[in-house]
Symmetry: C2
Subunit: 341 residues, 2 copies
């Protein structure tokens, strides 16, 4: 049988409004009535019906969801995950506007400042291109009771309500482990980063190096830097520099580019490890050029970040953890197909 507020009210000979008052701690009920209601609710295992609750509350929340506009598979998936979640919760009065910003952090800063000033939104869910310059803006938002949630990239110095994303130090360590396991006995490695050298990339590098340091088999780890302005020449230089290594870890977003030059190496190709998935990377996995790539579920990240914002703004539920660290998933030839589309 269905247990509603009415059930409790009838059994106790009081009105449903009183039951509602007790359930939501809205006061105006004598201690003894309160106690009776609470006991009966527990006895019957009463849980308010969410549909009816949201419908009656007629609360409407506007939230902006900001992330950089990369034409990449990963970001398409992030957006897809966000859009599904938006559909799921919009009928509860939680409305989300997706705002994609240009890649540069300056533009993003401007967009965020505008969002906070505009008074159009009740909160912000954001993937910061770079957490550092945004930290003070986020903090001032938080101080003005404007809740902000980060995902994918964090801004740990700010006082954002919560972060959803990977632990990139750990990702670097995992890359180290895979590099060691997938190569032969002698262990000479190279790690490739790029000019941007964001917090995320630094963490990956530190993780990889830490792992290498702990592993006695590792002879050396070379640091190589990709020049995004002059990609082709830079790649050719890198090619010369990886001829003597057993494994290459691409910590920046250029796994496919590096794969192309590794493909050109005729003998003793190094084992190639990197991050993320795309159709190109999928092909490189199938051709045994890339040995493994470390992924995170993009659908889940955006979705969880939005749900945390939803719980906070609609249900007044503070996130259980500040840091919601997502799984690092290992993708090789054999399970790559599950990570595309």
């Amino acid at each position: 049988m269905k247990v509603t507020a009415k059930t409790i009210a009838k059994q106790l000979n009081i009105s449903t409004a009183t039951v509602d008052r007790v359930i939501h701690n809205r006061g105006g009920v004598s201690p003894k009535t309160r106690k009776k209601v609470l006991e009966k609710a527990k006895e019957l295992n009463y849980k308010p019906n969410k549909s009816a609750s949201f419908l009656a509350k007629k609360k409407s929340i506007q939230v902006a969801c900001v992330f950089p506009e990369y034409p990449e598979y990963f970001w398409e998936e992030i957006e897809a995950g966000i859009k599904t979640t938006i559909e799921d919760i919009k009928d509860y009065g939680f409305h989300v506007e997706i705002i994609k910003t240009p890649h540069t952090i300056h533009k993003q800063v401007a967009v965020v400042e505008n969002i906070i000033q505009s008074q159009k939104y009740d909160g912000l869910v954001i993937c910061p291109t770079d957490g550092v310059p945004l930290a003070s803006i986020i903090e001032s938002g938080i101080n003005n009771d404007f809740p902000i949630f980060t995902f994918n990239n964090d801004s740990p110095a700010s006082k954002r309500i919560s972060y959803v994303g990977a632990d990139y130090y750990d990702a670097g360590r995992l890359a180290g482990e895979l590099a060691v396991k997938l190569t032969g006995t002698s262990k000479k490695f190279a790690i490739i980063t790029d000019e941007a050298d964001t917090f995320q990339m630094k963490q990956k590098r530190r993780g990889f190096e830490a792992f290498a340091l702990e592993n006695k088999q590792v002879e050396f780890v070379k640091m190589l830097k990709l020049d995004n302005q002059h990609i082709d020449e830079s790649l050719q230089k890198i090619k010369q520099n990886i001829l003597d290594v057993d494994g290459v870890y691409v910590a920046c977003g250029a796994l496919d580019d590096v794969a192309k030059i590794v493909k050109e190496i005729e003998t003793d190709k190094p084992v190639l490890i990197g991050h993320d998935m795309s159709e190109d990377i999928y092909q490189q996995l199938q051709n045994d050029i890339v040995a493994a790539t470390i992924c995170q579920d993009p659908l889940y990240q955006g979705s969880l970040a939005l749900r945390l914002a939803f719980n906070y703004l609609m249900l007044d539920k503070y996130p259980e953890q500040e840091d919601n660290i997502v799984k690092l998933e290992i993708v090789t030839k054999g399970n790559a197909k599950y990570y595309l589309k």
Copy 2:
């Protein structure tokens, strides 16, 4: 601005009931009114509010969710995923009763027959211990308009509405790939199954063998069978049989048991690969006894199966695919912590 049925009704000078009739194709509306409503709905991008809809429909569906009662981590997680989903959708009038059956297929068959006969439920979501003996029962259920959904283990010969779970042939292949990649140059493997030799296990074995056959480096694959009745003696025999191999693939549920005997081997321990995660297996990964284990997200499987049943029974939406194949995830020392708890 919020778009409701009322918005459309007002703009067209008709009643909300007429709008509702058009939206749900319930007839009784003249073609020209119908057309006007449809156009206006599209123009305003009207989507009925789910909360209000479920509340008004007062449809109540009872579903049984049956799976074997294993005291294992994986099944605890399956149950946890199911329970969260139950909480999510019960307010929409979709009620699920969890029924755990004893391990033997005979008991499960009895339980399922009883469920179908009882007339208490409108559908069944089940993880068949063995799909074969259940096939005819499932089929007769389906033929009597009693929808049945499988997960984790399939019963492909039956006419179940849909299946959610892994492709175990593919899992075996992936194990093969990992075995090759994680061992040195000579490739001698053993594969361990047990007496039960279910469909799932057969598929894994076939996948592994198929991969080995395609790989020229592989010298041989030994088939070893674990006797569940006399575990200890059986394990000791197996121990003697794996002294000369480079890699061992445990296709049955005994990864931890096998890990224990591998641990006893002093020199040249074979690379050990298996399935699933538990606290014991986690420890074996940390101690480098198990090299890798292939997992599926248990939370997702049960959840998706229930949601498919929900869509079918509450929204009359037939699943887009019959087979919903879930990701195979590779877990090693470095990312194991994400797969526990």
